[in-house]
Each structure stands twice: as C-alpha cells, then as structure tokens.
C-alpha cells in the first residue's frame, strides 16, 4: 500500500501579476501513496487548489520536480490517469445528465453502447438512477455535484483529484455526500486528493491531512490518521475525531491562518 503515486519535491510556483509576483507554492514536498485519501486543507490563498492543478497539469510549476504515477503530470494527463472534480459541477447545460457522464468516454472513443452502460452504472453508484435523461438545471446542486463525480469516476481513473467538490453545498447535503463518498472510496480503492477548507470534512474523510498556509503557499504539517474504515457521521462525536481536528486546528494556528 505504500507505493507512491504522487511525488513532489521542492515545488515552486510563482504567478507573475501586474504588480507583485504571487508565490502560490513555496518549496512544497509531498508524497502521496496509492490508495491514500489525502486532504489539502488551509485558508483561501494557501495554494491548495494550485497544488491540485499542478498535479492535474492545469498549471506548470515554476521550479521543482513532480511526478504522477512515475511520469510527468502532462504524461499522466495524456494517459487519462486522473478524474478531476471542480468546485462547481461544470456540467454542460446542453447535454442530459447521462450524456454529461458519457462525455469523457466519447472522447476516449468508446462505442455508444459501452458509453451508455458505463455511465448508467456510475450514475447508479452515486444514487442518480432515474435521472439519466434530465438536464442539469432540473437537478439540485447536490445531485449535479454527484453527477460530476460519476463523470470523473466513469472512465475508471486511478486517481481522483477533487477541488472542494462539496464546498458550494449546504451542510446537510455535504454531510450526506461525505458519508456516501467515503463508502464509494472504500469500495473502489482509488487514490483521492481532496481540497477542502472544512476541518471536519478533512478529518472525517482522510487517511492523511496536509495542512497548508498562505503567503507564500506552503505545507505546514502532514497529519496521518488511522480511522476505522466503516465510520459513519456519528464518528465525528468521538474523542479520536476531536483529537485529530484539534491537531489540524493547532497546525493552522501555527501557520497564522487565524490572524488578520
């Protein structure tokens, strides 16, 4: 289980803006193993989304070394190694739900029959059977986000990159999706890199929590957790959960994340 899938060393990324250059990532070292559920947590501007986008080859690092599954992020992207979930569902409004999910499969050149079958299967996994022929606007925000997860899962990538996928949802829906997604992760054994700014979400879901801090964006602390795999939302009331949440909060405080 300790085979690394993502390996970053001395990663730096500087955005050249009109006035001052922004140091989005500063000397980031990170190793993520196969099967890990890693949360990147920190206040806005700490570079967590940037780090995810670097892994996804949506941004190029200014310096440093990173490989994804032993190859460069670009190669990993071209090999369709990862599925990416954005903060917004980003469903194409002119496509029905099932055709949104089949989009990556169509791009990969699968037959119409295979596309339909695999999309149906994955819509079932996220609890959206019966909504195949609806259009995105006919679904609630939570359902749209589940459709986007089905879309990221349906071509069975090894790695899931998720950028605050539940960030825009209300707490009740978010809790529900957290539980559902945890079960999904347990049954598929994929590696997940999950960006969040919710401590309880990070603690509940992760096997490894990466605490980050802004200006410049850097990693403060990596907290490994060892939680029972079959945990439910009730787990958040336990002392163990509180203890890890406390550690995360302390790490954030050390990084002056609570300062003005």
């Amino acid at each position: 289980m300790s085979e690394p899938i993502i390996n970053a060393e001395k990663l730096n990324l500087v955005f050249e803006t009109a006035d001052v250059p922004v140091h989005a990532l500063s000397d980031v070292d990170l190793q993520i193993n196969k099967g890990d559920f890693v949360s990147l947590i920190g206040p806005s501007g700490c570079g967590k989304t940037t780090l995810l986008r670097v892994i996804a080859d949506l941004e190029k690092p200014t310096s440093g070394k990173i490989d994804v599954a032993g190859v460069s992020p670009e190669k990993a992207r071209l090999n369709r190694l990862y599925g990416y979930c954005f903060q917004a569902p980003v469903l194409y409004p002119w496509r029905s739900i099932i055709r949104n999910v089949t989009l990556p499969l169509e791009l990969m050149g699968l037959s119409r029959r295979d596309c339909q079958q695999r999309a149906k299967e994955h819509l079932g996994l996220v609890g959206l059977e019966g909504f195949e022929n609806k259009f995105p606007w006919q679904l609630s925000g939570g359902m749209q986000q589940r459709a986007s997860i089905a879309r990221a899962l349906c071509f069975e990538p090894e790695l899931m990159l998720m950028d605050e996928p539940f960030g825009a949802l209300d707490e009740i829906t978010r809790d529900h999706l957290n539980e559902q997604f945890l079960r999904l992760w347990g049954s598929t054994g994929k590696t997940v890199v999950f960006v969040t700014h919710s401590i309880s979400e990070a603690v509940f879901l992760s096997t490894k929590i990466v605490v980050m801090s802004p200006r410049p964006g850097r990693i403060l602390k990596v907290i490994d957790t060892d939680l029972p795999p079959d945990r439910t939302l009730d787990f958040r009331d336990t002392a163990k959960f509180q203890e890890i949440a406390h550690d995360v909060r302390m790490a954030l405080r050390e990084g002056h994340s609570y300062d003005d």
């Binding site: 949506l58 992207r77 917004a88 980003v90 409004p93 002119w94 496509r95 791009l107 995105p136």
Partner: protein, 303 residues
C-alpha cells in the same frame, strides 16, 4: 423554449390579454396616419386637377379623390390592399404579374445567399478563433467590407459575374451572402469563445484534442449566439437580394417590381411590392426564430 400560457376567458378578454390588442391598436394608428398622409401629400395634385377642370370641389370630394388617384404620391392603404389582392390571389402564381411569383424569385436567392453566408461566416469564425494570425489579418478586412455601401458593390458584382457567364440567381445570392456573412462571423467568433475557463479545463483534464473541444464544447456553446446572428442575417440577406435585382434590370423579383414601378410612376405597385418584401422578411425571421426554439428545447434549455 418559452411557452406562452394560453389566455382563458371570453373572446374579448382573450383579445385584451393576448398580443392581438396591442398589435391592433398600433395597426389602427398606422392606418389613420397613412390615410391622413395620403390626403396631405396627394391634395396639391388633386386641387390642381380640380381647378384645371374648373370644378367647385368640397373637402369630401378632395379626400375621396386623393385616396383614389391613379398615380398618387402616396397611395392609400386600400389601394395597396386591392393591388395586393389582384396580384396575389387573382393571378396565377406562375404569371409574371403575380407578386407571389416575384416573392419566390427574391426568396430563393435570399435563401441561397443566406445559406452561403452561414457557411462562409462559420468558416471564417472557426479560422479566426483557432488561428491567431487570421484574427489580426482577416478581421479588419471583414469589418471594412461592411463599410462600403452595398449599392456601390452590387452593380460590379453583377457585371463581373455576368461577364463570366453567371446571371440570374447566383449573382444576387452572392450579394446577399456579402451582407449576411458578417453578423454570422461576429456572432460565431463570440459564441465559439464563450465556453468558460472551467468548461475548457474539463476538456483539458480529458486530454481532448482541439477538434474534440470544437465539436463537443465550442460548437454547442455558440448555438445561442449563432441564432441571434441568423435573425439579423436573414433579414439583410433579403435586402441584399432586392438590391441585387436593381442594377440588372432584372425581369423578375421584388426588386424588379420596385424598379419598374418607379420607372412608370406606379406608386401603388411599388408600395405593394414593399408590403410583400416586408411580409417575406417577417416570415423568414419567424422561421429562424422557430428553428431556434426547436433547437433550444432539444438542447435542454430551461423554459
């Protein structure tokens, strides 16, 4: 697709609630102004005629005569209506005196030019969006092409193509195309660039090729922009076809009717040709709008 709820109630209530009421109010006002204008513009000639014939005229006679002149400055609405009735319902559609025949002639070159304009417009827009040098080199020329009055260009197009042996439909369609590709280019360039960064990032995460991004994302995003352009384009395509019929001394078409009407001072004929042109224009714009609604509902647009 916007669905209009059918108004219920008595006929009067329905007329009041629907579109019929405001439209008929405007129509009535236009007709009143038109009749008044006919009297005002035609009266000097009528008075002259009365005085030459040494007739003691009354206001009633003046009005009556100014609404029924043979070659009025401004024909009255009922004269135009009668002329329209005579040249549409009473004439065989294959007759050269039938306005339906002329509308068909103009309409066919309008549609051919419109189709050619769409193809040219989309082709140019795709080039401009994908090749940066084309945007810099082509776009200024495209804009410049529209600053030259079409009336100046039309005769040259007709003459040059006539020399090459092309007469009739094609030269007129080319003039239509010349006018109507422009809104298509502008709308499509905007439409093809309308996908937001996240929609494009999504395609990138799938390692989609530029062709796939075009077919699966850009083209679908551009559809609403395209239809807005097409409504403008089809209307000016009709203008192009009519203008194209003027310098040739064409035998058929709404433009030819306008031209022969003005040669012989047949104002009634000119006005009825104008009415047919505007009805044709409305039908074309409506047809584009209908197509837009059908396409939009198939693309899951929110009602």
């Amino acid at each position: 697709m916007t669905t209009r709820v059918a108004p219920s109630g008595t006929l009067g209530q329905r007329i009041y609630a629907g579109r019929a009421f405001p439209v008929s109010v405007i129509l009535t006002l236009v007709l009143i102004a038109w009749y008044a204008g006919a009297v005002y513009l035609n009266a000097p000639q009528v008075i002259e005629k009365f005085e030459r014939a040494k007739i003691d005229w009354t206001v009633g006679q003046l009005i009556d005569a100014s609404w029924s002149m043979g070659r009025p400055v401004l024909p009255s609405p009922h004269q135009v209506a009668i002329e329209l009735y005579k040249t549409t319902v009473l004439k065989n559609v294959t007759s050269k005196r039938s306005l339906i025949f002329h509308a068909y002639v103009t309409g066919s070159s309008t549609l051919l030019g419109f189709a050619m304009g769409i193809v040219l417009g989309i082709f140019l827009a795709v080039g401009i969006v994908h090749v940066q040098t084309l945007e810099k080199s082509l776009l200024p020329w495209i804009i410049a092409s529209q600053t030259v009055p079409i009336l100046a260009i039309a005769p040259m197009v007709i003459i040059i193509l006539g020399n090459m042996g092309y007469t009739g439909l094609l030269p007129k369609a080319i003039i239509s195309m010349y006018l109507c590709f422009f809104p298509v280019v502008i709308g499509m360039v905007k439409g093809l660039r309308s996908p937001d960064p996240l929609q494009l990032d999504l395609m990138r995460t799938y390692s989609a090729t530029p062709a796939q991004v075009f077919w699966k994302l850009r083209l679908a995003s551009s559809v609403p922009f395209l239809f807005t352009s097409l409504k403008v384009a089809v209307a000016i395509s009709l203008v192009g076809a009519i203008v194209g019929e003027l310098p040739t001394g064409a035998q058929a078409g709404i433009g030819a009717r306008l031209l022969s009407g003005s040669y012989y001072g047949q104002t009634v004929q000119i006005w009825s040709a104008l009415v047919v042109a505007s009805v044709l224009g409305m039908v074309l714009v409506y047809a584009v709008g209908l197509t837009e609604r059908i396409v939009a509902s198939r693309m899951g647009q929110r009602p």
